[in-house]
């Protein structure tokens, strides 16, 4: 529907004039010239991957960030966000919220240890999720089943940041099943999704190389239609405007020339693979962003990944998505540093982001509206809903986020301005989803049943209305609600049911019984509250 500009240009806003961000430039770096371009052209994908093996550099970057963080207050008790809330905040932003058990696991690691566990995801097995998904026998050539598959991954994963990064990159390197070829070609969306997932923390160069030759992307932005003598400029333009530089750093001539340099990639027939055809590559000499030579796609990507505007652009987008909107250049400095020093390793950029004092500052806390995915998956995870997930795609769609189908190549407007996720229509859809988890079987075609509150009460020895409210708010709202609001929840729990209790009752471990509708109504109110709409 609507389109939104990427959040803010690096040169936008007051502090840009202080020289922290790059100058906007129509044509950049004339000094490097043809020689460097040709050298860049010789860099193979493998070499690019090897380039990031400078682990020492990466560690040093992490070290600097930690030091800065400690200097800014770090984990101290008078620090920005209280210790308990920090892990909840981290798991909401770098994941999809948490169960009480997950909170305990990550809390025991300390904040830095928790960040390590999230980024070093290979150390945590996700076999259980893979097996559960396999057992569903989903037909991944169907968009609806793809949506379900992806949402269930987010709901079941033990690698929350990996899935969150996959969601982020999918909103950045967008494609949509609506323009991917139809029929069996729908599978291209899954191929792309898996590529993004397996390279989520890779170098930005490798992400760009992979996405440029990704079949879904080749189709979505028409690069597969681009011919040696008839370059299609769609991908070239978005590659610069939305994926790497942002507006203001290139000219229309750069778009023409990049389109020409990018020719050669095509999808093989109706398949999910792509092939580079040197005979369909326009090998004439061209000038792109000040580099002149017989440029090809590797040169274009190399030039873009090394362009000074790129780390600012991608850091701004990451920071906005994970921390808060309208960051200053100071906020972005640690991310840009990490990008440069780690040879563009996105894992190190993420580490710098999550360890920055800004990330755990009060300014970041509850500073974004939950996206539909965060809301739907978050509630599903936290309440440990057991279902086959067939209800999930329709719910996120009604809330404004159909998976694999962003409104346009700029991705989800709400990723940049989260307030845009909310209006009276989408708000009611959120609350009705909570109602469905607690009151109704999630879906008529679904064998799931409402959350078994009696079982939770028994397992956790919940012996009073206060205990009930404290138990759920501890992991749903970080236990940081005002006394007045806590009292409103408890009041509702204690309100006598005016009619006959038709729905049976729930018994706390002190032996006292309460009407089921009041008990689950209390949990509904906690998750329908203003605070729970925020991330």
């Amino acid at each position: 529907m609507d389109m939104h500009e990427q959040p803010t240009m690096p040169w936008q806003g007051g502090d840009v004039t202080q020289g922290q961000g790059p100058e906007p430039q129509g044509v950049s770096q004339p000094s490097t010239g043809a020689t460097s371009a040709r050298r860049a052209g010789g860099v193979s994908r493998r070499k690019l991957v090897f380039g990031l093996a400078g682990a020492g550099v990466a560690a040093a970057v992490g070290g600097v960030a930690v030091e800065q963080w400690l200097q800014h207050g770090g984990l101290s008790t008078h620090g920005p966000v209280a210790g308990d809330a920090q892990i909840g905040h981290l798991l909401r932003r770098a994941g999809f919220g948490a169960t009480p058990e997950e909170l305990a696991t990550y809390t025991s690691l300390g904040y830095n240890g928790a960040v390590d566990r999230l980024i070093n995801y290979q150390s945590v097995s996700d076999d259980d999720m893979e097996n559960r998904l396999k057992a569903l026998n989903l037909d991944l050539s169907k968009p609806q089943e793809q949506q379900r598959w992806w949402l269930l991954r987010m709901a079941w994963t033990q690698r929350p940041l990996l899935e969150k990064m996959t969601l982020f990159w999918s909103g950045h390197f967008t494609s949509s099943f609506r323009k991917v070829g139809g029929g069996n070609a729908y599978m291209r969306m899954i191929v792309q999704n898996q590529f993004i997932r397996s390279h989520a923390f890779d170098t930005f160069d490798n992400l760009l190389l992979g996405i440029t030759s990704d079949p879904a992307m080749l189709f979505y932005l028409d690069l597969t239609k681009s011919r040696k003598n008839a370059p299609n400029e769609n991908y070239a333009r978005e590659l610069m405007e939305l994926f790497t530089l942002g507006l203001g750093h290139y000219t229309q001539q750069d778009v023409f020339n990049a389109a020409s340099a990018l020719t050669g990639w095509h999808i093989v027939g109706n398949s999910t693979t792509a092939r580079y055809n040197p005979n369909d590559h326009n090998s004439l000499t061209k000038t792109f962003l000040g580099h002149t030579g017989k440029l090809d796609y590797k040169d274009v990507i190399n030039i873009l990944a090394n362009h000074p505007a790129t780390p600012w652009f991608i850091s701004r987008k990451l920071f906005t998505f994970f921390a808060y909107e309208n960051p200053s250049n100071d906020d972005l400095n640690p991310l840009v540093d990490a990008y440069v020093k780690s040879n563009h390793n996105m894992g190190e950029v993420m580490r710098a982001l999550l360890l920055s004092p800004q990330f755990t500052s009060p300014k970041a806390y509850r500073s974004r509206l939950k996206s539909p995915t965060e809301f739907v998956v978050g509630a599903y995870r936290a309440l440990k809903i057991q279902s086959n997930g067939s209800e999930l795609p329709g719910v996120t769609t009604l809330m404004g986020q159909p998976m694999f189908d962003p409104p346009n190549v700029a991705g989800w407007p709400g990723d940049k301005v989260s307030a845009l996720w909310l209006n009276s229509g989408t708000w009611m859809t959120r609350l009705n989803y909570i109602d469905s988890l607690l009151v109704r079987a999630a879906n008529r075609n679904n064998a799931s049943s409402p959350v078994d509150l009696q079982a939770i009460i028994n397992a956790n020895h919940i012996d009073s209305p206060e205990h009930f409210v404290d138990y759920f708010t501890s992991f749903l709202l970080d236990g940081t609600i005002d006394q007045d609001r806590r009292a409103q929840f408890i009041d509702y729990f204690n309100t006598p049911d005016t009619g006959r209790a038709r729905g049976g009752s729930v018994t706390l471990t002190n032996g006292k019984s309460y009407p089921l509708n009041r008990v689950r109504g209390t949990l509904y109110l906690i998750m329908a509250s203003p605070e729970y709409q925020l991330n």
């Binding site: 529907m1 609507d2 389109m3 939104h4 500009e5 990427q6 240009m9 936008q12 028409d222 239609k225 003598n229 008839a230 299609n232 400029e233 769609n234 405007e241 507006l247 229309q252 509850r366 509206l369 009604l398 404004g400 159909p402 346009n408 700029a410 407007p413 709400g414 301005v417 845009l420 909310l422 209006n423 009276s424 229509g425 989408t426 708000w427 009611m428 609350l431 009705n432 109602d435 469905s436 009151v439 109704r440 007045d484 609001r485 409103q488 009041d491 509702y492 309100t495 049911d497 009619g499 006959r500 038709r502 729905g503 509708n517 689950r520 509904y524 109110l525 509250s529 203003p530 709409q533």
Partner: protein, 420 residues
């Protein structure tokens, strides 16, 4: 049938207990009305029976194959496979014709209810979807805009209480033209989904739960993140549900709408108009116009969807006696390149025609179709009418608003609407 929010509270529909904080929107509404009055600013009223429907054709509609310069030899020359020939187009005036699938719009033309504004664009047009959409929707020519022009109009209304559907966006995401942090516009795909579910075990039909819920929003501290947005959202949902439920029961469409989400969306807007929900701005999007490759089949279908949907909508309003109160305006972020590309499609272009439709409209073609022999350096058309003068015309002559206040600057008017 509508009650203001204050009356609603008096009626006990929304029980606000003593000592509860006055919802932020009330005080803000009062304050802004006072400010506006003292500054002498002229904004329009939410309560009026005039409605503007905005149809977004997302992706960049090929204007040259919509309103076709079929007599121009250059058109055929630059579009060897895509050009529409004279025997296919629906002739308007001997030099321009409509795409063959726009026959329902041709009917409006014959009846005198269709205006075509030609060559609409702005200086240094952006070829980027996103920047162009930003420019059209926020009027920020750098493409960094925030609030939408319709959002500004809506949030400037001084008597908003009790009008949750003064503006309505069909779909599940808010169009940026309607973006306004202070006055979020409801989105809905259909009227059935616009209500809160109840716990069937609540003997009071869910009343106590809803009251507890609304209290959580009313007492959410004003200094907390997103306080005004959350509070307004909850109140609008509550009042809007009540109004829509009544409208659903009373509304019977007078025509059969085509299938598909575009026509279904128009039907919701018709219901809001026919049932007097106070709709002043309705917004609906038809997407898929980004025809870089194999354009013809896609574009043919979209033209058909557009024309048949608008036709059903108009006829429904006619039969309910509401057509005199409604003006429809279409827009797209840009037209397409004059010369077709090597993929049987067209790349991003610039100026394009747009439609204004309705009984109040002065039929005619306004502005000059851009010359195909004098293109810009990218092979694109040079605009002849600034889109902001189209907005100004609609705001001043139809919405009773001050276009200078909404748009920030004065732009000349076009004559496709009579002076009010």
């Amino acid at each position: 049938m509508r009650l203001s929010r204050r009356a609603m509270i008096k009626d006990g529909m929304l029980v606000v207990s003593a000592g509860m904080i006055m919802p932020a929107i009330f005080s803000r509404g009062v304050a802004s009305a006072k400010t506006l009055a003292s500054e002498g600013a002229h904004t329009s009223q939410a309560a009026s029976d005039r409605t503007l429907i905005v149809v977004q054709m997302a992706g960049g509609n090929d204007g040259l194959n919509t309103v076709v310069p079929y007599t121009d030899a250059l058109y055929k020359k630059m579009r060897p496979t895509l050009a529409l020939t004279e025997n296919k187009v629906l002739t308007l005036d001997g030099r321009l014709g409509l795409h063959p699938n726009l026959a329902p719009l041709k009917t409006f033309w014959d009846q005198g209810h269709l205006a075509i504004v030609e060559g609409v664009g702005y200086p240094n047009q952006s070829l980027s979807h996103f920047q162009a959409m930003d420019i059209w929707q926020t009027l920020d020519l750098n493409g960094n805009g925030g609030e939408g022009w319709l959002g500004k109009l809506v949030s400037g209304w001084v008597d908003q209480d009790g009008h949750p559907f003064k503006a309505l966006d069909i779909g599940t995401q808010t169009a940026q033209a309607l973006a306004s942090i202070s006055s979020p516009v409801p989105t809905m795909a259909n009227t059935q989904s616009y209500r809160l579910a109840n716990d069937p075990f609540d003997a009071d039909g869910g009343n106590a739960r809803i009251q507890a819920l609304m209290k959580l929003y009313n007492t959410y501290p004003k200094s907390s993140p997103y306080a005004a947005l959350l509070d307004t959202t909850a109140l609008n949902a509550q009042e809007g549900t009540r109004q829509l439920r009544a409208a659903d029961a009373a509304y019977h469409p007078a025509v059969t709408y085509p299938t598909g989400p575009f026509a279904a969306g128009l039907k919701v807007l018709a219901e809001a108009i026919v049932q007097g929900l106070g709709l002043r701005v309705g917004y609906v999007t038809l997407g898929g116009f980004d025809t870089h490759a194999n354009q013809q089949a896609t574009h043919d279908t979209l033209m058909k969807t557009l024309a048949e949907g608008l036709s059903a909508f108009y006829n429904d309003l006619m039969k309910h006696g509401k057509a005199d109160n409604v003006v429809v305006m279409t827009w797209s972020e840009f037209g397409r390149r004059v010369e077709e590309n090597g993929s049987l499609g067209t790349d991003h272009g610039t100026a394009a025609p747009l439609f204004v439709l309705g009984n109040p409209v002065n039929r005619g073609i306004y502005g000059e179709p851009p010359s195909l022999s004098s293109l810009d350096q990218n092979g694109n058309l040079k605009y002849t009418i600034d889109f902001r003068s189209v907005y100004a015309t609609v705001l001043d002559r139809w919405m009773g608003a001050s276009s200078k206040d909404v748009l920030g600057v004065s732009f000349g008017s076009q004559n496709f609407l009579p002076q009010s």
